[in-house]
Symmetry: C2
Subunit: 464 residues, 2 copies
């Protein structure tokens, strides 16, 4: 199969088949597309409506006088087949079939899904779905589902989600998580377009640097393996796979009709393909954020700088368990920090600077040290201290140094940060440090992120 039609991501004209005035997707999607500027290129279809949102409603998609790039189908299940026939007749190349009730519900639904698959076999149309919400492309200002598109920052993370609800949740959640997305595609039951197609798409897509995959099971193991391998040789692929247990697999089967396969098989396949596997949904997107902004890590030699000894110890424990190592600091680095350090401070790696004010110099020292290949930075500041600083008109750079300049000056080593504490400090830290030294949600995730950056570095080096 070839690449996905461009019409999926940047449709010039859209038909919403099953548009309605009743509350729900059927009215929400037309309203949203109109707001996004599709006014002249939005066609609503429903044999039982005449006018919605000030737009005329066509009885059938074939009645539309202009060419249609993409159809969003939200009709009841039993009408889906005839609507797809109309789409073929109208020469539409991209269809998003959002309707649920197919193979995920049992044999009858599966039969209807197969019928549609047979119908399009030799046609130039591609279908995403059914049982999905289609896609969201913040770069192209297009979405086939109700989300606050203007809140989602266009970025370089391509997301493949199997389930529609899950996709919507990620879209709702992304803005608060500082996740900048290239496109998000939900594939549902995959009667035609599957995870392999979207992997190939993201592998070639110029706006995508990192591919994130939430999957309950592959549709076609062989194709999936090939697509993963090819995508992974070009861009990091991060995966969260559920259906790891028998109960989970049975639940997945009735959710998106997935056969999740035996988990052990996947483990080997993913490893061979250089895929990074996340252990939770939150970790998946933390890792995506790290890969989208930080350089790869060229070795396992790690430095930690923290203002909280406890959190430094937690990060060190986790890093060691991921196979990272903590070399001694170079004599030059030691000397530079010791010159400024108070008597109580132990200058070594991991480096606990406590309240010495040496977090900035410590971080710079680790970044400049040729023995260190990646850094975990844990700036933790009590709200009372940060308020005192803010009251004097100063910012967190008093404590952390000028992280932006530091990143610009020394761009070659990954830095992952973690912080916790009061609302005042954490929101400031997120804004000032987060954009430069990617922030994750735990000391453990920081350690795994560095491991993953190194793991993928090795995969690329060994698979040129």
């Amino acid at each position: 199969m070839g690449a996905l039609p461009r019409e999926f991501f940047n449709p010039r004209s859209v038909a919403v088949i099953g548009a309605t005035r009743k509350p729900g997707f059927g009215s929400g999607i037309p309203r949203l597309l109109k707001r996004l500027g599709y006014t002249d290129h939005l066609y609503l279809v429903n044999p039982r409506e005449h006018e919605i949102e000030g737009l005329p409603v066509y009885r059938r998609v074939t009645d539309i006088p202009d060419p249609v790039d993409l159809a969003i189908v939200i009709v009841p299940r039993d009408h889906a087949r005839s609507v797809i026939e109309d789409c073929i007749a109208k020469n539409i190349h991209a269809v998003i079939l959002e309707t649920a009730g197919f193979s995920e519900t049992g044999p009858e639904g599966a039969r209807m899904e197969r019928e549609i698959a047979d119908l399009i076999k030799d046609e130039p149309v591609r279908i995403i779905g059914p049982n999905c919400v289609g896609l969201i492309n913040p770069h192209g200002r297009f979405t086939s589902t109700e989300v606050a598109l203007e809140d989602i920052t266009p970025g370089n993370i391509g997301v493949i989600a199997q389930s529609g609800v899950f996709g919507s949740i990620v879209a709702d959640w992304a803005p608060g998580q500082d996740l900048a997305v290239s496109s998000l595609v939900t594939i549902g039951n995959r009667l035609d377009v599957d995870e392999a197609d979207v992997l190939y798409h993201f592998a070639q897509d110029a706006t995508t640097d990192v591919i994130v995959l939430y999957l309950e099971g592959a549709k076609d193991g062989r194709r999936f393996r090939k697509a993963l391998g090819e995508a992974s040789r070009r861009k990091p692929v991060l995966l969260y796979k559920s259906g790891r247990t028998e109960v989970g697999r049975r639940a997945a089967a009735s959710h998106t009709g997935s056969m999740s396969g035996v988990d052990g098989l996947y483990e080997g396949l993913l490893k061979q393909a250089g895929v990074i596997r996340a252990s939770s949904f939150q970790e998946l997107f933390d890792l995506a954020r790290v890969f989208s902004r930080q350089p790869l890590m060229k070795g396992t030699d790690t430095g930690i700088v923290s203002t909280s000894g406890s959190l430094g110890v937690m990060a060190a424990d986790a890093a060691v368990q991921w196979g990272l190592r903590f070399p001694d600091l170079s004599p030059g680095t030691l000397e530079m920090i010791e010159r400024q350090a108070p008597a109580w401070m132990n200058v070594k790696n991991p480096l606990d600077v406590g309240p010495s004010g040496l977090f900035g110099p410590g971080l710079e020292g680790l970044l400049r040290d040729s023995r260190i290949q990646g850094v975990i930075a844990i700036p933790v500041v009590p709200d009372s201290t940060m308020r005192l600083i803010a009251d004097r008109g100063m910012g967190p750079d008093v404590l952390t140094g000028d992280v932006e300049a530091l990143r610009r000056l020394l761009p070659d080593k990954p830095v992952v940060t973690y912080t916790v504490g009061g609302a005042f400090w954490t929101s400031l830290a997120r804004k000032t440090i987060g954009p430069h030294f990617t922030m994750v949600r735990s000391a453990e995730t920081a350690a795994k992120a560095l491991w993953a950056l190194h793991r993928y570095y090795r995969f690329r080096r060994d698979n040129p």
Copy 2:
């Protein structure tokens, strides 16, 4: 050793030794205590100051004309010993020594620490510290460290943190995490009071129902084991222990002078003592919140109800890996839900209700089903849907049912919830569902929480 003096938690009069006008703890703590109403019972001590915050400053603690319940000591290390001598002379029973620079920095500091320990051996004074921030008691409106005490809800979780910075962070972080604390005690280098003392205290303390322990290593393994066992027979004890690896142990040694011991030894000890071990700092406090509000789980038979199939599968996977089981629903429950269910819905356990609107009935069905002993509930709602509902003047109970009434009616089974999504939905859910069906930060944590509630149930049953 006997119980900790009550003066630590509810001092009627406090001396701050090392108070100063310079910014920092030395001025922040007096200001805070004054604001908390200690005006008439706050005595500041510093030979080089005369007046701070409108209060007279005494040269030595022995110059104070009234009795002193508790002394907070923040003088430089080299003055600590003579200050403690004065405290003994003044017959003070509770001293919080916050000064750092003792055993965590090397042999010289360790020697000075031992000197103070020897000094108090036969005296009626107890010392918390050094290298700590003492304690926070929101019930008694007392704190020995700068935190926004009025933001911390008085509650039933007793927290023992080894490190001062860590304790401050937890105190800053607690309000945003809906953590209601009985007291938080940081024990630092433990020259006198150690984790065992505070465990005994919390085991007896009427305001404490759950004990949370962050430890880098025990001071005295035998005493610790005994205290853990005794505390655990009365109240659940949750622990996060760092220093699990050699690097982590070395880092811990220079942080609070801890010898963390070999981790394998701890694993056995903790299991035997019925202690629940958390795998991250975030998980530790999620579990604490669950134990502080939910009943124990009497068996392993679990139900899941979710509006997102994906998240339901994730929770099921994790639950199975923790040894929980998913029985079939009782015929009565099946019948009740099937009667209301749309055609596409698969009524079984785990129960994915999708957008059917049956989350409330599903949750009630699981709670009423005699085959189910604990429930994971995953209400996930797109922001667009929740906004539509809110625009009509309705609340999330349209989707979730009246969770408060449900909890009141059926209080015997634990329910742990997890949600994710947009800011609008998640903040509403936290407010309406969170207080009744404790909310945790991932599907994986929800599963572990139910396991822990059952694990502790068994421990209590087998160790009456």
